[in-house]
């Protein structure tokens, strides 16, 4: 397997090229949004704590003393997960694992938003992007579910396609399933 380091997958169809480009665009878009969300939360944990408190989820309500262990952990862990998973996704390193974490977070966010809709709690700011408004500028509701649905679709592209050719996975991680399977013809330029 002589190589000058530039690998070209012979027989890669237009569709796989298309998928690679699609995955790259999805990864960049998703990572960018998660960066913004993470950095805004990391720089202002109190606003994120207040946002979580407003959802009035049992176990996630700040008491009069201003304390709640679950919220404290979430306030610091969630944005760092968003940041690190976003970084991995952008680099295309361990793409599927990073996409999985992001999809799990999005599922949790959707569940919280849905519970607010069902309980008819009015929340003016979901805290999804810290103090910044996302695409939904009204009270938390269906728009936020759609917004997260779009993000989840991007995550699903990264999960199913993997990093594609323009990714660290393609260079460093032969275990990543988007590498050619055994039996595939591989040509090294």
């Amino acid at each position: 397997m002589a190589s000058n380091g530039n690998r070209v997958f012979e027989g890669a169809s237009n569709a796989s090229k298309f998928e690679s480009v699609l995955s790259l665009l999805a990864r960049i878009a998703l990572a960018q949004l998660f960066f913004i969300a993470a950095l805004n939360k990391i720089t202002d944990p109190q606003s994120f704590a207040t946002a979580i408190d407003k959802f009035q989820i049992p176990g996630f309500i700040i008491d009069d003393s201003g304390e709640n262990a679950l919220i404290a952990v979430s306030v610091y862990l969630v944005p760092w997960l968003e940041l690190v998973a976003g970084l991995f996704l952008l680099a295309g390193l361990w793409t599927r694992a990073a996409a999985t974490l992001i999809l799990v977070m999005l599922a949790a966010f959707c569940a919280a938003i849905y519970s607010v809709i069902v309980r008819e709690i009015e929340i003016t700011d979901c805290g999804c992007f810290g103090d910044l408004k996302g695409f939904c500028r009204e009270a938390v509701g269906t728009c936020n579910l759609v917004q997260n649905g779009v993000l989840a679709a991007l995550g699903l592209i990264a999960l199913t396609v993997g990093g594609g050719r323009a990714s660290a996975d393609a260079l460093f991680d032969p275990d990543e399933p988007d590498e050619p399977e055994e039996g595939d013809t591989v040509e090294f330029a």
Binding site: I42, Y76, W94, T124
Partner: protein, 199 residues
């Protein structure tokens, strides 16, 4: 599959380390920020504007600090002293009737337009993302600012008070904790429609 799980765990572990360092640097964690308590405030003689002709049947809504808030001082009121961040209905009523304060409604626009304290401006926490917000320039920093929302668990009034303190250095910010429902239930002057100061 085990490699996949390992990657998940590694990404999670890196995040946990980052979160742990961040948490350690922020210790002790204060989840709920409260605006600083404003200094004790009592009205000066000069603060009381000359009473204008009140129109009790039709509460006006001409804009902040407009004449509709200035009425004859009711007799029998306790001396007005604002000590602490939060004020009650009676204190808010006195401030409004004597035209001594700027009232700020921190609720969403549709709620404000459906009904608000007469002459109240509309400023939500989200609007304060724009620090060049025009309405902030017309607030008199030497007068108390009374901020309210829906009372109860509503937190937006505290948030606006905190932001006004942080962004504009407005110290005389007070939160009317009972909020608009209590004001409306007491039959005090209200207005409807959009904020005349909004652009």
């Amino acid at each position: 599959m085990s490699g996949y799980l390992t990657k998940l765990v590694v990404i999670f572990a890196i995040s946990a380390v980052g979160a742990g360092v961040h948490l350690g640097a922020s210790w002790p964690v204060k989840l709920k920020s409260e605006p600083a308590e404003p200094p004790t405030w009592t009205p000066d003689e000069d603060d009381d504007p000359a009473p204008e002709t009140p129109d009790e049947d039709a509460p006006s809504d001409d804009g902040p600090d407009a004449g509709g808030a200035a009425q004859d001082e009711p007799s029998g009121d306790e001396p007005l002293v604002l000590d602490g961040l939060e004020i009650d209905l009676d204190q808010a009523r006195q401030l409004h009737e004597r035209g001594l304060a700027t009232f700020v409604d921190a609720r969403p626009a549709d709620r404000y337009e459906a009904g608000h304290i007469a002459d109240a401006m509309h400023i939500t926490p989200q609007m304060l993302d724009d620090t060049s917000l025009f309405v902030l320039d017309v607030i008199d920093p030497d007068k108390p600012i009374v901020i309210y929302c829906d009372g109860g668990d509503c937190d937006d009034s505290h948030r606006v008070a905190e932001l006004l303190q942080q962004l504009r250095g407005l110290e005389l910010t007070y939160v009317f904790v009972d909020g608009y429902p209590a004001w409306e239930a007491a039959g005090l002057p209200t207005g409807t429609g959009p904020d005349p100061w909004a652009e």
